[in-house]
Assembly symmetry: C2
Homo-oligomer: 326 residues x 2
């Protein structure tokens, strides 16, 4: 009912709508209308009340509230169950708890800020207000060994949602980073809970530096980081971008479920950055230098090493050898 009152106010914006009209059309009392208006105000909506004129919506908060995100969202499941938090330690951790208690596929957990945001290998992920930090619960009926493929489809979904913005031609740094001109724009953290031959759930975490300035980052990261607003030159609607990301994620997830990994790999290759550039690859088994020449059908990185051989890398960090890097 609160959403209905808000809908009414939005529809009539910038005009006033009388309390009586809201009462009649929603079949609620004047006191109820006042209660819902108060609740909306406490969420940050600015609503003017004038005697004889009624109510008027003059400002919506810069918060990704459920009413803003889910209402009219054009997906079947991705984001249809949506949990909003002002602050969380980590949206992935909260989404995992929800997944363990049976949260349905597509459940999204979003926090305006994360106080303990995580990247791969438990590295810290800086997540102040102004970014998009969210996680999606997935329950694909595939073997656990295929879970890493979700990182690839999510990366494709993200760059395709981003490229609708002028100048936002992002690339993918294997395996899980979104970059723009060698600077980190976002990242993906896929976490799996599974058995021998079944996935219980996957939590897909996505973090994108949206409306952030350089001073939002520690000084050590400023030269290797960027944000959507820094690239486009103006703040963008996080609501619009989030909704586009959710639609794009569902689209690519369904392609993957029905068509397998190869359409994902084909799309991914178009965005592969640092191709043919000298890189260093580090993982638990060792360190190699060479040139990234592509990925194979399984998503492994193909590295042409300095001695001319092609090495298949299935996990690790890729670093540029020539100067600044994400």
């Amino acid at each position: 009912m609160k959403a209905a009152v808000l809908g009414y106010l939005k529809e009539r914006r910038p005009d006033y709508v009388s309390g009586e009209e809201i009462c009649r059309s929603l079949d609620i009392s004047r006191t109820s209308v006042w209660k819902y208006v108060s609740a909306l105000r406490s969420e940050g909506y600015e609503i003017e009340a004038r005697s004889r004129l009624g109510y008027r919506l003059v400002g919506t908060p810069d918060l990704l509230l459920p009413d803003e995100v889910v209402s009219g969202l054009d997906t079947l499941f991705c984001g249809q169950v949506y949990h909003h938090h002002l602050s969380l330690s980590s949206t992935n951790s909260t989404a995992q708890e929800l997944a363990r208690s049976g949260a349905p596929e597509g459940t999204v957990v979003l926090a305006e800020e994360q106080t303990g945001g995580r990247g791969r290998l438990s590295r810290a992920w800086i997540s102040p207000r102004g970014g998009l930090w969210f996680s999606v619960v997935l329950r694909p009926n595939v073997l656990p060994m295929r879970a890493p493929e979700i990182t690839f489809l999510a990366a494709v979904a993200c760059v395709q949602a981003l490229e609708r913005y002028p100048g936002l031609d992002a690339g993918i740094k294997w395996p899980n980073d979104l970059v723009w001109r060698d600077r980190k724009l976002g990242g993906i953290l896929t976490e799996l809970s599974g058995e021998f031959d079944r996935i219980n759930h996957v939590v897909l975490g996505i973090g994108i530096n949206v409306n952030l300035g350089l001073d939002d980052f520690p000084s050590g990261l400023r030269s290797v980081t960027t944000s959507v607003s820094a690239i486009t030159g103006f703040p963008v609607s996080r609501r619009r971008l989030l909704r586009e990301l959710l639609i794009s994620l569902e689209h690519w997830y369904r392609i993957w479920l029905t068509g397998g990994f190869s359409p994902v790999v084909e799309a991914w290759k178009r965005f592969h950055c640092w191709l043919d550039r000298p890189v260093r690859v580090v993982n638990v088994e060792g360190e190699w230098t060479g040139t990234a020449v592509g990925i194979d059908d399984d998503g492994a990185l193909l590295l042409r090493t300095d001695d001319g051989l092609t090495k298949r890398i299935i996990a690790g960090d890729v670093l540029l050898r020539d100067g600044e890097q994400a």
Copy 2:
């Protein structure tokens, strides 16, 4: 200190030991001695107290209490942290919670009974008093795709611990069941929590029907189930078997960490049951009939199908085609 008092009583068993002697050697008060004796009694230890003679241990409870299991356990980490419960829904679920809160490698969770014991694919696992139902937290530094190998090493560890008992020549039904003459004796449930290229933790669940009779099972399962005591003809010490299992698990886990999967596969093959027998294999992709002819270097089941081809099965259920089966 309670363990020290118990140790004293066990050492002198079946003789009495005076309260004064315990006081002196442990440097505690008479009241403290009495307090520890009461605590031990409440756990089920039968301790006689006679004036002028002192205390005497006459019976230990048939419970796998920490003092019984861990004291003198010959492992480096496996079982050195040990959580005992009279009843749990599922030891795997509790072990996962502990793992998420940072429980060290080798932490064991054991329950005398499970009220919601789980097998593969969320199937129910009957777990009344008298069996061994426990889970081990592991944190191997390998890629997540190698986690299924832990099911194989655990199966080898279990059958080797069991074969120390006369007549207990158990086999392994691919991928995760322990069987004896086509009847189910136990099972393994490996659950993984991981990222793209790192395992956060694995919870290895082991269930073995030890001192159970046919009437401990629902009538529908009686013809396909057996227990250690049903095979040997007498109840065995669950404490001894548990300790042997923990030692054997650590042994094979360390072989796997240092030597890789191939020594595990070689050992596993010796215990592969239903080899060369007509079977049916069912998984999410379909159903095949044929003869199991072995496993390959990756642990996949090799099925010679009725049309003469060899199919590689990486997940699924194997069922005998000729009558009764586990």
